[in-house]
């Protein structure tokens, strides 16, 4: 594929622009000098597979110039053998039969480059995971299978064509979506690397959910102070633009050069507002305050907490009636009730998604939720325990400190079919939300410390304080007299209102720690440790085609090998958009995502693997069926091509930077004009022919 410095849509594509030639039968030219290398993997392979036999058989194949077996192909010795053979024998293709290509495909491509070959003329054959490890007790069959895999690899290798990486001119700017702790961290790291950064936040205030906490475990740092330190650093960056009340409404382009349309809603309030208290007090509207998870009310003009960032109230246009009372109270200065949004367009090389999470909201009646003001969620209790929160840090119900509290774990997490009913979103949340155990214990300790006379019962299914320095929360809780009770996987505690009794609530649990005794716990307050839910980012998912996991969180390419990258090039994941995480993990992920973006946009170009669809214009008749098969915007288009003097016809054109090489278009083409470079149908046919060339014994077929 040719290099593209600007958008291909503005430039005729190389493939499509090739002069049309009359169709003629062209037999594929097979490579003649394939080098085959069999790896022992220090015994991992050679203890089961007879590598000498495999090498001997490979040496006898047509087109194979040399076949060797070496203790470790990835070692210096193995690599040197390939380079030497390339230079001495003039190899034109290289097959290495060793471990999974996930480990060393890149290594051997570099070896070919060092030997002066095109790196895409290398082909791996996996005879470790697929032969020796899979059939450790059938050495003969494993050897046969290894030979078959090598035959197939040689057959395909003979048909490989040199490929070039797809290159895109890089825009040195990154867009960070989400102004919570992960987004802030990512934005700061990116800006410090010299990239231009646009940080967009949907709500009017920065800091996200972390600002709702008083302290964060395990350091017990004051949460808002921590976030505000981060914000101060972010604001000090010269190349960083912060846009609050801003959403992404359209997205086109690809890694290195996305075009993003942003919609910014006016704040309604500006710095000229002199008496914000008077303006807020004048507002006649009262709605549930989301910052306090609904346990307090706020006005339509509001500020979540003094000193918020920006330290300026905002107008909630959804509940504002434009009555103008606040404008009057403010003396006509500093408030503007015009709420028409403004759309702007930016170019960005990469996108960091840090849109965060939502708390699970229990169904009405789930553990008695919403049937009594004495049944609260942990986030609500966090707000009550916050000295700067709506209750001034007092955990009181009807003016009285609870004498006895039950905390129930795994509410909306680790749900089991037929045991739990789906949540309000109609889904079972089968995953563990991870942060709630430690958060619950942290709150339990705070309660025991603040109110030593309050009995705390901690009802769990399983309990994990998994992170560094988190175990002390459990130790402290048990030392502080928190009583742990454990319920079985298939039995949930029940919460009942017991009117007239000494304690207004009764929690019944079959406690496996008390020998399976059914116990009634009389309590004044029930705290539900609600889980972490994926936030609804449907719009973003539709725009980006980012893969979503079964749990509803955005999916990384590989949890260990590529943990913060979405399968969409240039789209990085930071924080709880990907999975439940605590603040520590969110910021780690954010820094990792920022580092990935920095590396991606470091040069003038972004390079991508060349395994993308290609069109044979001599076969394409312009029917357009492939357009429907393609799920990536702009990957395939129809272009007018001059097929003869003065005759223009439509032909499919693949934009190699937008194409992900998924191959969905290939079977859609009725005339087989489409193929994926490096994974062509003819190559597969040759592999199958090679495998079936010799009958396999039964053991080697599995």
């Amino acid at each position: 594929m040719a290099e593209r410095r600007s958008k291909p849509k503005n430039q005729a594509a190389t493939t499509a622009a090739a002069p049309a030639t009359p169709p003629e039968v062209v037999l594929p030219v097979l490579a003649e000098k394939v080098g085959v290398y069999i790896c022992h993997c220090g015994g991992n392979i050679s203890d089961v597979v007879d590598v000498d036999k495999v090498a001997t058989e490979a040496a006898g194949l047509d087109g194979v110039a040399v076949a060797r077996h070496i203790m470790f192909m990835c070692s210096d010795e193995g690599q040197k053998a390939i380079v030497d053979d390339i230079q001495a024998l003039g190899l034109d293709r290289v097959v290495v039969a060793a471990c999974t290509p996930k480990l060393h495909e890149a290594t051997f491509r570099r070896v070919l480059q060092r030997g002066g070959m095109n790196p895409y003329l290398f082909l791996p054959a996996n005879i470790r995971e697929q032969a020796s490890w899979a059939h450790p007790h059938s050495p003969k069959a494993a050897t046969e299978k290894a030979s078959a895999l090598v035959r197939a690899a040689v057959a395909k290798a003979q048909m490989l064509e040199p490929l070039e990486k797809v290159r895109v001119a890089a825009v040195h700017r990154a867009l960070v979506i989400g102004g919570g702790v992960a987004g802030l961290r990512a934005a700061l790291d990116l800006a410090r690397q010299g990239l231009g950064v646009t940080l967009v936040e949907k709500s009017p205030f920065l800091g996200g959910r972390t600002t709702q906490l008083h302290t964060v475990f395990p350091t017990e740092d004051p949460a808002r102070l921590l976030v505000h330190r981060l914000i101060a650093e972010v604001k000090a960056q010269p190349n960083l633009t912060i846009l609050t009340e801003t959403e992404v409404v359209a997205l086109t382009g690809y890694v290195g050069d996305f075009t993003v349309t942003l919609k910014t809603t006016p704040r309604g309030v500006n710095a000229e507002l002199a008496d914000r208290q008077a303006a807020i007090a004048a507002c006649p509207i009262s709605v549930a305050n989301e910052f306090d998870d609904g346990i307090s009310k706020r006005r339509a003009i509001y500020q979540p907490y003094p000193g918020s960032e920006p330290d300026l109230p905002a107008i909630d246009w959804a509940s504002c009636t434009r009555c103008g009372d606040c404008v009057t109270a403010a003396g006509g200065r500093g408030i503007d009730l015009k709420s028409d949004p403004i759309e702007t367009t930016i170019e960005t090389g990469a996108i960091v998604v840090a849109t965060g999470f939502d708390h699970y909201e229990p169904r009405v009646g789930e553990y008695g939720y919403a049937t009594s003001p004495r049944i609260l969620t942990l986030p609500q209790v966090h707000r009550m325990l916050d000295p700067e929160g709506p209750t001034g840090g007092r955990l009181e119900i009807d003016g009285r400190v609870p004498r006895s509290i039950a905390m129930i774990h795994c509410v909306g997490s680790r749900q089991i079919e037929d045991v739990d009913e789906p949540g309000p979103d109609g889904k079972l949340h089968e995953y563990c939300s991870r942060v709630c155990c430690t958060a619950t214990l942290q709150a339990a300790n705070q309660i025991r410390q603040k109110y030593p006379k309050t009995a705390v019962y901690d009802l769990y299914r399983d309990i994990r304080t998994y992170g560094r320095d988190q175990e002390p929360y459990y130790v402290d809780a048990s030392k502080a007299g928190v009583v742990f009770m454990r319920f079985a996987n298939d039995a949930r505690p029940t919460v009942e209102l017991s009117d007239g009794a000494d304690f207004p609530l009764k929690v019944t649990v079959t406690d496996t720690l008390t020998f399976g005794t059914e116990i009634e716990v009389p309590v004044d307050l029930v705290i539900l440790s609600v889980g972490v839910m994926p936030r609804d980012v449907t719009g973003l998912i539709e725009m980006t085609h980012a893969p979503v996991g079964a749990d509803g969180f955005l999916l990384e390419v590989h949890p260990k090998l590529r943990p913060v990258e979405s399968a969409i090039p240039g789209l990085l994941l930071a924080g709880t958009v990907q999975a439940p995480m605590d603040v520590t993990e969110s910021t780690s992920a954010a820094s990792a995502a920022a580092a990935k973006v920095t590396a991606l946009l470091a040069g003038d170009h972004v390079e991508m693997e060349p395994f993308v669809a290609k069109v044979d214009p001599s076969l394409c008749d312009g029917c357009g069926l492939c357009l429907d098969a393609c799920r990536y915007a702009g990957a395939i288009a129809m272009q007018e091509v001059e097929i003869e003097e003065g005759v223009l016809e439509k032909r499919a054109y693949v934009n190699p930077v937008a194409c992900k090489g998924c191959g969905a278009c290939v079977p859609s083409c009725p005339v087989s004009a489409l193929d994926v470079a490096g994974w062509e149908i003819d190559q597969y046919k040759a592999m199958i022919d090679a495998i079936t060339a010799e009958p396999l014994t039964a053991g080697a077929r599995s």
Partner: protein, 389 residues
């Protein structure tokens, strides 16, 4: 049936000394290492769990409280330093206080200052009472029962025994009913038919004879996990000597009174040292003094795990026993001195007052275990045969 729990149980128990038990995470190491626990009596974990959760009724119906002799092995092994052994001791204190309806035991345990004051004042009242009624002090011989008339001592003693008997019986009934209900033991199980009676008699023999007087499991099982010490400092032996000494002295006193009632020998008649009742008293006194002295030493030196922590209740009991024994022994010496010392009369007054107080306070202090432990052991001995039958 769901068990309703009492959130106040654990804090209440902690007032009796179970300070660290909240740290327990129910791993069960304590039960695993305990030489006494078996399928029919699982502790300390089970009992700790009752306490943590607030299962008050179950705790008070646990015979297991009294099957533990506090070797301390569980505390030694506990990965959380929750002191399960100390917890068991605290739970026994709580049980003694709970079985006692007069709440005197509770006061004695929870308000040591008031408890000590009560003990001192009670002794003083007895002494005053007898002093007021005292007769002449004979200068040539120690005519103790002319000084304080034996009738006065006997009738006061009887009155005290009746009060103590009633209080003790009330406690036993309270306890026995709770345990019986939780163990599923009814009247029929104990008395219904020859087989049941035989079983009960056997259980009674095991509880009183083999375990209480014979200290079998204390001697064998608990000793098996203890660090070896000189034979004369072994916990079971010191405890046994103290118990046997106390019972011997008690028996000698009763026998002496019995002899007077039979007209064989009037109280206070000088007898030679080999005279059986007198011999019993002397030997028992020596046992009691040795036992209590060593027990006090152990506590002072914190010689083993079980005496690392001492409550005022522990000291009160040991001190009362030791004073009773010592004053009796000094009195014995005074009787053999050629010239009767006047202080002998005052030692006598002191001895009688202390002994009376010891008996009177028995149901309201640590000494109450002499009745509660056999009751629990009776149910423990009864259980395997009932489940088999």
């Amino acid at each position: 049936m769901a068990v309703a729990i009492d959130p106040t149980l654990l804090p209440e128990l902690q007032r009796y000394g179970a300070f660290d038990v909240a740290a327990c995470f129910n791993c069960g190491n304590c039960t695993a290492v305990c030489p006494l626990t078996d399928d029919d009596a699982t502790f300390p974990r089970r009992i700790i769990r009752y306490a943590q959760v607030g299962m008050k009724a179950e705790l008070l119906a646990s015979k297991e409280l009294w099957t533990c002799y506090y070797c301390g092995e569980c505390s030694e092994t506990c990965p959380r330093q929750a002191e399960p052994g100390e917890f068991m001791a605290a739970a026994r204190r709580y049980a003694i206080a709970s079985y006692d309806k007069t709440r005197l035991a509770r006061t004695m345990y929870l308000q040591p200052v008031i408890g000590t004051a009560i003990a001192v004042m009670l002794a003083a009242v007895f002494a005053m009472f007898m002093y007021v009624a005292h007769g002449p002090q004979d200068g040539s011989t120690l005519a103790l029962f002319k000084f304080i008339p034996s009738e006065l001592i006997h009738s006061l003693g009887l009155a005290i025994m009746i009060v103590v008997g009633l209080a003790g019986l009330a406690g036993i009934v309270t306890m026995a009913r709770r345990i019986a209900r939780s163990e599923g033991v009814g009247w029929g199980t104990v008395f219904g038919g020859r087989a049941a009676l035989g079983r009960s008699a056997r259980a009674l023999w095991i509880a009183l004879g083999i375990e209480s007087l014979g200290q079998r499991r204390y001697r064998k099982d608990c000793e098996s996990v203890q660090e070896p010490v000189a034979w004369y400092r072994r916990r079971w032996l010191l405890h046994a000597l103290t118990m046997w000494g106390f019972l011997g002295l008690f028996g000698a006193t009763i026998a002496d009174y019995g002899l007077e009632l039979l007209g064989t020998k009037a109280t206070g008649t000088p007898v030679p040292i080999w005279y059986p009742v007198r011999l019993l008293g002397t030997v028992a006194g020596a046992m009691l003094i040795f036992g209590t002295t060593m027990l006090i030493l152990n506590r002072l030196q914190q010689a083993n795990r079980s005496v690392r922590k001492s409550q005022s209740a522990d000291w009160t009991l040991l001190l009362l026993l030791w004073l009773t024994g010592m004053s009796g022994f000094v009195l014995e010496l005074a009787l053999y001195l050629p010239q009767a010392p006047t202080w002998g009369y005052w030692v006598f007054l002191f001895h009688v007052a202390i002994a009376m107080e010891l008996v009177l306070l028995a149901p309201f202090m640590k000494l109450a275990h002499v009745v509660y432990r056999p009751v629990a052991l009776f149910f423990y001995a009864l259980k395997p045969s009932t489940s088999a039958g």
